[in-house]
C-alpha cells in the first residue's frame, strides 16, 4: 500500500470513527466502543505496516497543497519519534477504549464519550505525524478543544465544567502563544515545512527573532505539559472520567508538549537561553509536583501531581540539550506511559469497586482485590524507580546525566534537586501502594464492597504493567531499537552508543538512587507528622486564584463595558460629533491651505439679509424654547420658508419647489405626531451637560460654516456638469437640466431615492399597523388629550374651500408633472402637490369621509411606482441598450401640434406614483391612529361620565 494513502488513513480513521459514533449516538454502548476499538486497532495495524521502513531509516511522507498563500500544506510524515508517539497514542488508546467500555456506568452518553475520545485521538495523531508546523498547530488546538469536551464529559458536575474551562483556558491560551511562535519560526526559517525547518536550526538560532519565537513556543509546550506555574489545570482535569485521565495524562495530551520539545530539539535546543529556561522549569516542576503528590489523599490527585512531576523530569531531560539526556527522556516516555496508564486504570478500578478515591478511607485492599493490588503495586514500583523495573533504568539514566548540567553556576544544584525529586517520587509511589493495599482497612464500608473486577476491566492495566516490568527486565530486546531510532530522530543525528541495563556497576547514579529510595521509605514512615506540618503551612490554592482572577476580570471588565457601552444615544452622538470635529480640525491642521479663496462675493440684497436674520432668529428660537413643541414647529416652518426662498433666489427653482412642498408635508407629519406626544415635557439635561453640548455644538457650527465659507469663496474647477448642460437638450430631450439629470443622467440615483421613500412608507405602515394592540394599544386607550378641544370638527368654510381647492391643486400637479422635463417641476414635486391636495381633504372633511372616497391603495401605488420605474429601465434592455437608457421622440398630430414623448416621462411616472403612495401611506396611517386614540379618549370620557 502506498504511503500517502496509509498516512492519510492513519489520520482520518479516528475522525471517521468519531463521526460514525456521533451519527449512531443512539446505538448501544458496544457499538460505540466497538467502532472506537476497531479504529484504534486498525490504526495500529497501519502503523505496524509503517514501522518496518521507519525503523529501517525511511521517513514515509506525503504532502497535499492546502493554502499555498500561507505555506500551510497537508504534509504528513512518520519518523521514529512520530512512530513511537503514534504507537503510544493508538495502543494506549485501544486499551483505554476497552477499559472505558467496562468503566462507564449504564445510562451515560457513551456516544458522546467515545466520539470525543476518537476526536481527541485523531487530533493527537495529527500532532505527531504532521509534517507542516501550521498543520501541527491545527491539530494542537484540536486537542485542546476535544480535551475540553472530554474533561467536561460529566456536564452536571460543577468541577467538571470548571476543570474543562480551566484546561481550555490554559492549554488553549498556550496554544495561541504557540501559534505566534510557530508563525515566527516559519517566517524566520522561510518555510513552514517541518523537515525544512529542522534543517535550518542554525539560521533560526541566529535570528534576532529567536528569543521571541522560543519564548512563545515554550509557553505553548509548558502549558500543555502542565509545567510549573501552568500546572494547575491538570489536577482539576481529574474531574474527567478515569479512562480519560488515563489517556490524557499518561501518553497523550500532556505528552504533546514534551513531543513538541523533542520535535523541535534540533532547531531550538543548544542555546544558553534554551537550556537555562527549559531545564530549570523542568527541575522545579519535578520537585514541586513530587512534593505536592506526597500530601494528596485523592488517588487521582496523587497521580495527577506525580504526572506533573514526571513531566517535569522529561522536560528537564530535554532541556539539558544533551544527547544522552534526550535518550533518557525517550526511554522514560515509554516507561511513564506504561506505568502511569496502568496506575490510572487501577485507580479507576478501585474507585469503581469501592466508591471512593480517598486514600485515607481505604487500605488493606490486597485481600479484597489481589489482582488489582498486584498490578497497581508493580506499576507504582516502576514509578518509584525500584529495580528491576523500567522506571529504575530511566531514573538511573537521568541521575547519571544530572552532574553534566550546571544551572546558575551551581554545579551541585541539579543533582541534588533531582535526587530530592526522586526521593519524593519514591515516597508518594510507596505511599500510594502501601496505604491502598496493605495494612488494615481504615473504613469498613468501602472495604466490604471491594472485590476484583471482571477480566475485561483489569486486562488493560495488567497488560501495561507487564510491559513496564519487561521494560526493566529485557530493555535491550524490547525497546533498544526503538529508543535508538527515536533518539536519532530527536537529536537529528545518529544516536550515541547506549546500553539499557539494570546494572552498570556502582556509580554516582546508583548511589543517588539508593539515597532516594532510602529517603522515600523514611518519608513513608514519618508521613503522618510531615502531613501535619504540610497542612499547617499556608499554601496557595491555584484553583481559587484562577477562579478569583476570572471573577475579578469579569467584574471589572463588565463594569467598564457597561459604563462606556450602556446604549445611550446621547453618548453615541457625543462620541460621533466629537470624533468628527476632531478629525476636521486635524485635517485643517495637517492639510494646510487658506480659508478664504479668491472668488468675488455677490453683494446681498436687503431681503436676503432680512431673510438671513429670520433664519438665525428662528434657529435660535428653536433651540431656545425647544420644549414648547408647538411654537417650535412654527419656527421650523419659518426656517423652511427662508431656505426655500434662498433656493428660489439663488436660481434653483426646482429645489425651491421641492423644499416648499416637502416642508408642508413634514409639518403635517410633525403635527400629527405631536398630538400624541407630550406638548411641553420637563427639563432633563443638567447645566454642565448643556454647557458641554453647547461648546461642542458651537465648534461644530464654526467648523462646518468655515468649510462652507472656504468652499464658497473658491472658484469651481472644470465640472462634469458642463457635459450635462451641453447634452441635456440634445441627448436628454429636456431643457430643465436638473430634471434631465434626475430622470436621465443620474436616473439611477432617483430610482434608489424613490425606493427609499417607498420603503419609508412601508416601514411607517408596519410600525403603526400594530399600534392598536399591546402596550401601545393600552396606552392609546388610556390616552386623553392635554388640551381643550373645540367641538366643531369640520369648519364649514374650510370644507367648502377644500372642495374647490382639490381640483385646482390637482390641475397644478398635472401641470407641474407634464412640464417637469423642460421647466421646473417633475414627478416628485407633482406627487407632493397632489398629496397635499388630498391631505387638505383629510384635514377639512376628516379621515373617514375622505378615505371612503379614496380610489387608490397606497401599497399598490408604491409597488407599481417602483415597477414602472424599473420597467422603464429594463425596457431599454429590449433594445439592446443599457439599463435605464432613455430615448425621446417628437411627434406632431394634426390640430394638437408638435409634442415630445420621452421614456424619461414614464420613469417620472414611476417616481410620481411611489412618492404619492408613500406620503399618503405615512400620513393616512398616522392620522388614523391619532383618530383611534381620540376615539378611545372620548369613549372613555363617556364611560367616565
Amino acid at each position: 500500500m502506498a504511503y500517502p494513502l496509509t498516512l492519510l488513513m492513519l489520520v482520518a480513521l479516528p475522525f471517521v470513527a468519531a463521526l460514525a459514533i456521533a451519527l449512531l449516538h443512539n446505538a448501544a454502548r458496544a457499538v460505540h466502543s466497538g467502532i472506537a476499538a476497531g479504529a484504534s486497532a486498525l490504526g495500529l495495524v497501519l502503523l505496524a505496516l509503517l514501522a518496518g521502513p521507519v525503523l529501517g531509516g525511511a521517513v514515509p511522507s506525503a504532502s497535499w497543497s492546502w493554502v499555498p498563500a500561507l505555506g500551510l500544506d497537508l504534509t504528513l510524515m512518520v519518523d521514529p519519534l512520530g512512530l513511537m508517539f503514534a504507537g503510544l497514542i493508538l495502543g494506549i488508546g485501544l486499551l483505554v477504549v476497552i477499559f472505558g467500555h467496562f468503566y462507564l456506568y449504564t445510562g451515560e452518553a457513551t456516544g458522546r464519550f467515545f466520539a470525543s475520545l476518537m476526536l481527541f485521538q485523531g487530533a493527537m495523531l495529527g500532532i505527531v505525524i504532521a509534517g507542516n508546523v501550521l498543520l501541527l498547530l491545527v491539530f494542537w488546538e484540536l486537542t485542546s478543544l476535544s480535551s475540553f469536551l472530554l474533561i467536561g464529559f460529566w456536564q452536571h458536575k460543577a468541577e467538571a465544567r470548571q476543570g474543562a474551562r480551566m484546561a481550555l483556558a490554559v492549554t488553549g491560551g498556550g496554544g495561541l502563544a504557540l501559534i505566534g511562535g510557530m508563525v515566527l519560526l516559519g517566517v524566520v526559517a522561510g518555510s513552514f515545512d517541518l523537515a525544512t525547518i529542522l534543517e535550518r536550526g542554525d539560521i533560526v538560532r541566529a535570528s534576532p527573532l529567536y528569543p521571541a519565537a522560543l519564548g512563545l513556543i515554550l509557553l505553548g509546550c509548558f502549558t500543555k505539559s502542565a509545567q510549573f506555574p501552568f500546572h494547575f489545570w491538570l489536577p482539576h482535569a481529574m474531574a474527567a472520567p478515569t479512562p480519560v485521565s488515563a489517556y490524557l495524562h499518561s501518553a497523550t495530551m500532556v505528552k504533546a508538549g514534551v513531543f513538541l520539545l523533542a520535535r523541535l530539539w534540533p532547531v531550538l535546543a543548544g542555546t544558553e537561553l534554551y537550556t537555562g529556561i527549559v531545564s530549570s522549569v523542568g527541575l522545579v516542576t519535578m520537585v514541586f509536583g513530587a512534593g505536592v503528590a506526597l500530601f494528596r489523599h485523592d488517588l487521582k490527585s496523587i497521580l495527577a501531581y506525580s504526572t506533573i512531576s514526571q513531566l517535569g523530569l522529561l522536560v528537564m531531560l530535554l532541556g539539558f540539550s544533551l544527547e544522552a539526556a534526550a535518550l533518557a527522556a525517550v526511554f522514560h516516555i515509554l516507561n511513564h506511559a506504561a506505568f502511569k496508564a496502568a496506575l490510572f486504570m487501577s485507580a479507576g478500578i478501585v474507585e469503581h469497586e469501592t466508591g471512593t478515591r480517598d486514600i485515607r478511607r481505604l487500605g488493606g485492599l490486597a485481600k479484597a482485590m489481589p489482582i488489582t493490588a498486584l498490578v497497581a503495586t508493580l506499576a507504582a514500583a516502576s514509578m518509584a524507580g525500584l529495580p528491576p523495573l523500567g522506571g529504575f533504568i530511566s531514573k538511573e539514566m537521568m541521575l547519571y546525566e544530572t552532574p553534566e548540567v550546571v544551572l546558575f553556576g551551581l554545579p551541585w544544584l541539579v543533582p541534588v534537586l533531582a535526587t530530592v525529586g526522586a526521593t519524593f517520587s519514591v515516597g508518594y509511589s510507596l505511599r500510594l501502594a502501601w496505604h491502598l493495599f496493605f495494612g488494615r482497612p481504615r473504613e469498613v464500608e468501602p472495604f466490604k464492597r471491594a472485590h476484583d473486577p471482571g477480566f475485561g476491566m483489569w486486562a488493560a492495566p495488567a497488560l501495561l504493567t507487564v510491559l513496564a516490568v519487561l521494560l526493566g527486565l529485557i530493555p535491550m530486546t524490547l525497546a533498544a531499537p526503538m529508543v535508538g531510532a527515536v533518539t536519532g530522530a530527536v537529536i537529528g543525528a545518529p544516536a550515541p552508543e547506549f546500553d539499557l541495563a539494570l546494572w552498570h556497576g556502582v556509580n554516582l547514579a546508583l548511589i543517588l538512587s539508593a539515597i532516594a529510595v532510602a529517603g522515600g521509605v523514611l518519608l513513608l514512615w514519618r508521613h503522618a507528622g510531615l502531613l501535619a506540618l504540610w497542612e499547617r503551612a499556608p499554601l496557595p490554592d491555584a484553583k481559587r486564584i484562577f477562579t478569583r482572577t476570572m471573577g475579578f476580570a469579569d467584574k471589572w471588565v463588565r463594569k467598564a463595558l457597561v459604563a462606556t457601552h450602556t446604549p445611550s444615544l446621547q453618548n453615541m452622538l457625543l462620541a460621533s460629533f466629537a470624533v468628527i470635529a476632531a478629525l476636521v480640525i486635524e485635517g485643517a491642521m495637517t492639510g494646510g491651505g487658506v480659508l478664504t479663496g479668491s472668488r468675488p462675493g455677490l453683494p446681498a440684497s436687503i431681503p436676503a439679509i432680512v431673510a438671513w436674520t429670520l433664519l438665525i432668529a428662528a434657529t435660535a428660537a428653536v433651540v431656545n424654547d425647544s420644549r414648547n413643541r408647538f411654537r417650535v414647529l412654527i419656527y421650523i416652518s419659518v426656517i423652511g420658508l427662508v431656505v426655500s426662498l434662498a433656493f428660489a433666489q439663488l436660481s434653483a427653482p426646482d429645489l425651491a419647489l421641492t423644499q416648499i412642498s416637502v416642508e408642508v408635508v413634514t409639518i403635517l407629519l410633525l403635527l400629527l405626531a405631536l398630538n400624541l406626544l407630550p406638548k411641553s415635557p420637563p427639563l432633563l439635561s443638567s447645566a454642565p451637560r448643556k454647557w458641554r453640548d453647547g461648546a461642542l455644538a458651537i465648534s461644530g457650527g464654526v467648523l462646518v460654516g468655515g468649510l462652507a465659507w472656504a468652499m464658497l469663496t473658491r472658484d469651481p474647477g472644470p465640472s462634469i456638469a458642463a457635459y450635462h448642460l451641453a447634452n441635456a437638450k440634445s441627448g436628454g430631450g429636456g431643457t430643465n437640466v436638473v430634471n434631465v439629470i434626475l430622470v436621465d443622467f443620474r436616473a439611477f440615483d432617483t430610482l434608489g431615492e424613490i425606493i427609499v421613500l417607498g420603503i419609508a412608507g412601508l416601514g411607517i405602515f408596519a410600525l403603526l399597523e400594530t399600534t392598536a394592540v399591546g402596550e401601545a394599544g393600552r396606552r392609546l386607550r388610556g390616552w386623553r388629550s392635554d388640551m381643550s378641544h373645540s367641538p366643531e370638527r369640520h369648519p364649514i368654510m374650510l370644507v367648502m374651500a377644500s372642495r374647490i381647492i382639490l381640483p385646482l391643486t390637482l390641475t397644478v400637479g398635472i401641470y407641474l408633472f407634464l412640464r417637469g422635463h423642460n421647466q421646473p417641476g417633475g414627478g416628485f414635486i407633482a406627487a407632493l402637490v397632489v398629496a397635499v391636495a388630498f391631505l387638505v381633504q383629510y384635514l377639512a372633511a376628516g379621515f373617514d369621509w375622505s378615505d371612503k372616497r379614496r380610489r387608490f391603495g397606497e401599497h399598490r401605488l408604491i409597488a407599481w411606482g417602483v415597477l414602472v420605474a424599473m420597467a422603464t429601465g429594463l425596457g431599454s434592455l429590449a433594445f439592446g441598450a443599457n439599463f435605464l437608457t432613455s430615448t425621446f421622440e417628437y411627434f406632431s398630430l394634426p390640430l394638437i401640434g408638435k409634442f415630445e414623448l420621452a421614456s424619461a416621462m414614464a420613469f417620472d411616472t414611476g417616481v410620481f406614483l411611489t412618492v404619492f403612495g408613500a406620503v399618503m401611506l405615512a400620513l393616512a396611517q398616522l392620522s388614523h391612529i391619532a383618530q383611534r386614540a381620540a376615539r378611545a379618549a372620548t369613549s372613555q370620557e363617556d364611560t367616565a361620565l
Binding site: 381643550s788 373645540s790 366643531e792 369640520h794 369648519p795 368654510m797 374651500a801 381647492i805 373617514d848
Partner: protein
C-alpha cells in the same frame, strides 16, 4: 433688462411701489394694532391689493420685456383669494376658542368677546353645529 415704452415702465414701477407699500402697511398693522382680531385685518391687505398689484406688475413687465402675455401670475391671486378668508377664519376660530378657555396668552381685544348670536345657541367654535344645518357637514 432694457425697459420698453417708458409709460408702461412707469405703470409697472407704480404698481410695484403700490404693492410694496400695501404689504408694508399690512405688516405694520400686524405690529401696531391692539389685539389679534384687529391685526387679522392687516394681512388681508398684503394678500389682496399688495400682492395683486405686484402680480399685475409682473404680468405687465414680462409683456414689456419679451412681448408675450404671461398670465399665469394671476393664478396666484386666485389661489390667495380662495384661501385668505379661510386662513383668517380659522385663526379667528383659534382665537375665540382660546379666549373661551381663558388662555392667558390670548388677550381680549377692545371689541371684547363676541356675544352669543341668540339665547341658547352658541358659535360653532364652542358648540358643535346642529344636525341638518349648513354647518353640519360630516358625511354628506
Amino acid at each position: 433688462m432694457s425697459g420698453g415704452g417708458s409709460l408702461a415702465e412707469w405703470l409697472v414701477s407704480a404698481l410695484i411701489v403700490l404693492g410694496g407699500s400695501f404689504a408694508l402697511i399690512g405688516s405694520w398693522g400686524l405690529v401696531r394694532l391692539p389685539s389679534l382680531m384687529e391685526r387679522l385685518h392687516g394681512p388681508t391687505k398684503a394678500t389682496t391689493l399688495g400682492l395683486g398689484a405686484m402680480l399685475v406688475a409682473s404680468v405687465a413687465w414680462f409683456h414689456l420685456v419679451d412681448g408675450q402675455w404671461t398670465t399665469h401670475e394671476m393664478l396666484i391671486s386666485v389661489f390667495l383669494f380662495v384661501t385668505a378668508p379661510i386662513s383668517a377664519n380659522l385663526i379667528a376660530k383659534v382665537h375665540l376658542h382660546r379666549l373661551r378657555h381663558g388662555e392667558a396668552a390670548e388677550p381680549v381685544g377692545p371689541a371684547g368677546t363676541p356675544a352669543p348670536p341668540s339665547s341658547g345657541i352658541d358659535w360653532a367654535t364652542h358648540e358643535a353645529p346642529h344636525e341638518g344645518t349648513p354647518g353640519d357637514l360630516v358625511g354628506d
